[in-house]
Symmetry: C2
């Protein structure tokens, strides 16, 4: 299999940046909805721990290893491996976290997203979009390629709500092997029913009602960023693209892993095609590396996150070979075992 397939970004970056937008939505605390953490309440802390790991190479604020309960290396370990390989320090952007960060970050001044069944999910969506634009302006001055990932536990469900509200027949992916489709579907129906009582057309108003804080920050950055933008993620980043399209803005490229494409409970390829956004898929052949935890990615666990697919894509664009990328990931995750 080729290392990357699909619409591979064609630029040769001289000054690339790798950044990850972090956010919470209270959706992740609903039991059974998010696999991004050891238990529902602790999913809120996952972005903070990911940032700590990718920045420093260690989780020091809690006695934890960066593995899922089943021993699968988190996508943050892959992002960390790629920042070590490329020498590009990561830049984290806080779109709305419940817990205090332990490493430096850009603050977009948001709050955790609310349950869209109960009230507006992101009341400050327009402000977050404006703050995203400010951040994009700064990053434009300093880079020619921005690979922008996300870490929002529960974020596939808010992405589902936004995509459906914008009229797309979306099915979204999951970090669980068995996608809790029925739970997500029921929640989405309830959120959309609330939205239907007072319908809105403005895409940012839809994000305000049923989205999460990552979406408007990413959309704002996409609006103002002057270089090549690669959104690193699966269905969540497609929700950002759908918002941009509804706003009449140019679309970036999306980069994700083959494991998201192969998720039969989701329809990533179809969605990308309907939105009209180019998407590429990295296949790091985790099944052949001899690491049982990485091999679980091929069975559908984790799949993607913390910009891992985009981070591998970036290393490839910078000229690292698939073998160098795989060896670095293997060495990194083995050090955490």
């Amino acid at each position: 299999m080729p290392f990357i397939t699909g619409d591979v970004p064609s630029c040769s970056p001289e000054r690339p940046i790798f950044s990850v937008i972090l956010g919470n939505t209270l959706l992740s605390t609903i039991p059974g909805l998010s696999g991004a953490g050891p238990d529902p309440e602790k999913t809120l802390l996952t972005p903070n721990l990911d940032a700590e790991l990718v920045t420093t190479g260690r989780i020091t604020s809690l006695p934890l290893k960066p593995n899922t309960p089943t021993g699968c290396p988190t996508p943050a370990t892959i992002a960390r491996a790629m920042t070590e390989l490329t020498g590009i320090p990561p830049l984290f952007i806080n779109a709305g976290l419940k817990n205090r960060m332990t490493v430096p970050f850009i603050d977009a001044l948001g709050e955790p997203g609310n349950d869209p069944r109960k009230g507006d999910a992101v009341p400050q969506a327009k402000t977050l979009y404006a703050h995203g634009r400010e951040i994009g302006r700064f990053l434009s001055r300093t880079s020619d390629l921005l690979v922008l990932g996300e870490c929002v536990p529960g974020g596939t469900t808010s992405a589902l709500c936004v995509l459906r509200a914008l009229g797309y027949p979306a099915s979204v992916s999951s970090s669980f092997v068995k996608n809790p489709v029925n739970n997500k579907e029921a929640l989405c129906q309830e959120a959309l029913a609330r939205l239907a009582k007072k319908p809105v057309g403005d895409p940012l108003e839809i994000v305000c009602r049923v989205g999460d804080p990552m979406i408007p920050v990413a959309a704002g950055i996409a609006e103002s960023y002057a270089g090549t933008l690669v959104l690193a993620g699966g269905t969540q980043m497609l929700a950002v693209c759908a918002v941009l399209k509804a706003m009449g803005r140019p679309l970036p490229t999306v980069a994700t892993t083959i494991y998201v494409k192969e998720d039969r409970s989701a329809n990533v390829e179809e969605l990308a095609s309907r939105i009209g956004v180019g998407i590429c898929y990295v296949d790091p052949s985790f099944g052949t590396l001899g690491h049982p935890g990485l091999a679980r990615y091929c069975e559908g666990e984790v799949k993607e996150g913390t910009g891992a697919g985009g981070a591998m894509c970036l290393a490839y664009m910078m000229g690292y070979t698939p073998q160098q990328i795989q060896e670095k990931i293997l060495a990194t995750v083995e050090a955490y075992s």
Copy 2:
């Protein structure tokens, strides 16, 4: 008079960044010590309002104009004029603020500094230094020149304590026309007496005992930044240089205004010479522009702040003429009158 005198940075920047480290020290709330705000308690909010003004061009979170009580344009208006002229969006770094920011910023995860007479001023100084290093690593990837200012009301007094503790015969500048030298001196003596009870040699330990949160963040950035670094400020930035020198680190260049050099209550030139750091002085001829508020800079009011001297120096290094710089400042401050 020439526009810049002294050790003018010689690089021709292709990708410059203008950044300002913001911080609080509770020293600014002591009546009579800081002129950076309409009253002692409100000095704590000055960095937040400066960041809002420089980023957005307006102060919207409070019904305030960016002028001192005597009608003197704040240095933030000068920094704003220069970001408009050069098209370089500002990057604010929060080293430890009491109040919530209203525009995006990089969070170095600090707290306001304490009164050094009563306890350790910056208990987390070493962590802030490490966070500064992370920020400097990121900025190194994305720029070849970093002009780094500060806004810390009360910060000349913490700078005085650090410089004296490091053995320099320092007299520090002030944003008041009449420098409250006696107040600062008495406070410094008391802080140093406390330090003497349990003396320390490690420069960061001295910052921990008697400094403010800006100093370790700036020192950390200076340690890791790979491009040309210009510290934009007067005696406060000399305190950062003194810490760097005591740590055996290479020294950056300092850029400030002629009004700081001309402050007879301070000894900036002598201090820079003793530390062995190059310093340059921008003379924007505010007395000749026909604006009574700007003319007050020549009488010793405000003098510098929010990286204003460095921002003018940066515009000059980028090829703007003194006349273009002066006209832009005049147009900007007149719009706020």
